[in-house]
Amino acid sequence: MGNLSRRAMLGATGGLIAGGLLKTQADAITLDETAATPEGPPSAPQEAPQDPTKVIGRFTSDLGERAPGEQPRRIINRPSPSSSSRTPLQDLRGIITPADLHFERHHAGIPAIDPERYELLIHGMVDRPMTFSLSDLKRYPATSQLCFVECSGNGGAAYRTNAAREVTPQQIDGLTSTSEWTGVPLSTLLREVGAHEDATWLLAEGGDAAVMGRSVPMEKAWDDAMIGYGQNGEAIRPEQGYPARLVLPGWEGNAQVKWIRRIEISDQPFMTRDETSKYTDPLADGTARQFSLVMDAKSTITFPSYPNVLPETGWWEIRGLAWSGRGKITQVDVSTDGGDTWEPAELQEPVLSKCHTRFRHLWNWDGGEALLMSRAVDETGYVQPALKTLIDARGEGTSYHYNSIRPWKVESDGRVFFGQAEAQ
């Protein structure tokens, strides 16, 4: 199992792995030269000796790093100020996304912001317009929430009946990540400025070169919105909005404005580009759905998936992630026969609202062809639809919110491919 995963990863990121091994070998030479000094071995990673019990290990270090053979990487869409990179879902365990593997979507690059000069302005329909420094924000009573952030364009490659076969979970759905976000509830700041009760919308605006602006209903602002400054126990990474961002649990990533510098309270939406020209969902009936902010329930199998190869028949654990922007995942069903029959998968605790949830299902592979599927159900009773159901509801030309079932085809020789085409 471990060898298999590693082989799959080597196939996807061979060049990077090779680079890592080269660096490790150079470090090993350094180790030999210094091993006899009174200081003992250096803290840099060393090449594995034949018998680790016969060699003193390296010392402590002020910053850890990954094992040389475990080097998951994001996939970069294109080198451009407006671009994205994708989380290696198939390489992760549990529900947390390491902060340096959290997906990225920037519209004008990653800004460099001086935390000492950072300010958040809140104004508009308020009694008292105010600015908050980073230390002001951190002084307020804090809250933390584990929740996913997902780009609403995630999964576009799967929204076609002739989807490519040789694509990984990362390539299809890598624009979703889960972190523990820490910050101040936005409701605390709204009380502080005296936000008017008849206000219905706010504009959240970023301090990047896109000056990204999105309108957010006040109902969400008063509910579980947060001005986040912490991510997985440390300061938010620059790519994720350092020093502070808007966190809207369960809602599309674009509205969770990073590098947030201004909030204007209003009684109407602002109709920015990214809620009119973009991030709207044209429908087959000749309309376009606007402010489609909640992410519907979705799941995907992360193992086995392309480019895995099952080396032998027998017991394999089908593993994956499920999540819903409307609350908790209550059930994930797994099918190995293309949706003819379904069995409930095990949900791995913790099962949290608006958060990646692990599912797993033991499968005794008999060596025949199989079409694997997962189907998430959330606490509202929403059931993740088949692709055809979603196309019937919205039209094949629609954009965003591509949450249909992800099929994976297992060939009789053990090779696994994305199985959208076979699922029709």
């Binding site: 002001d136 002084r139 896109a210 000056v211 009119t276 039209g395």
Partner: protein
């Protein structure tokens, strides 16, 4: 004005009441009084009052009704010069060639088939519902090589030129805080609120 003052006074009173209730709640909950921990007050005053100048420096949004549109004006002809110098490199000489977003095009003239088929490019002319969004977006982040560097006159002119290329305003039109919000975009009435609610129905 008296009415507004009264409203403000009522709001302040409400804040005071909330503060009182929060304090009482803390005490009745058995928490320590007199500076200890507990539920805390409703407000903390950790931030600073924002001055009108601070707000004006950041308050750049322009809304569909024209709120926030700064003084200035620009003609189609002036916009053509700005576009050629600063926009065409990414959007093409006529706004149709790319390599970045295609800005110009009315195809198809009838209907709004973007959900039904994949066959049509979405442009300012066939998809954008509000002309004010053009000003807001160009002003806040264009051109990509020098974001936010255009004057208000240049932004009005560029918006005018793009609207003209899309055959929405005539060649002699001038865009300013009054005329821009009055432009009726072809796709204005196509946008509907989100009707997804969770539950069993797939929408």
């Amino acid at each position: 004005m008296t009415g507004a003052r009264e409203v403000r006074a009522i709001r302040l009173l409400r804040v005071a009441l909330v503060t009182t209730i929060a304090t009482v709640g803390c005490q009745s909950g058995g928490g320590p009084s007199g500076g200890g921990s507990g539920d805390g007050p409703a407000t903390f005053s950790f931030g600073q009052d924002a001055t009108p100048a601070q707000i004006a420096a950041l308050d750049i949004d322009v809304r569909p009704d024209g709120t926030g549109a700064p003084p200035g004006s620009g003609s189609v002809e002036e916009g053509g010069r700005v576009f050629a110098a600063k926009c065409a490199v990414c959007h093409g000489p006529t706004g149709t060639e790319g390599p970045n977003d295609v800005l110009v095009g009315r195809d198809p003239r009838e209907g709004f088939p973007f959900g039904a088929t994949r066959g049509f490019r979405r442009t300012v002319g066939n998809y954008w519902p509000y002309a004010t969004t053009l000003f807001d977006y160009i002003n806040r982040t264009m051109p990509m090589t020098a974001p936010g560097s255009l004057t208000a006159d240049e932004v009005y002119a560029t918006a005018a030129y793009i609207l003209y290329l899309n055959e929405i305003i005539p060649e002699d039109a001038v865009m300013n805080p009054q005329t821009l919000p009055a432009v009726m975009m072809p796709a204005r009435d196509r946008f509907v609120p989100d009707n997804r609610t969770g539950g069993p129905e797939i929408r």
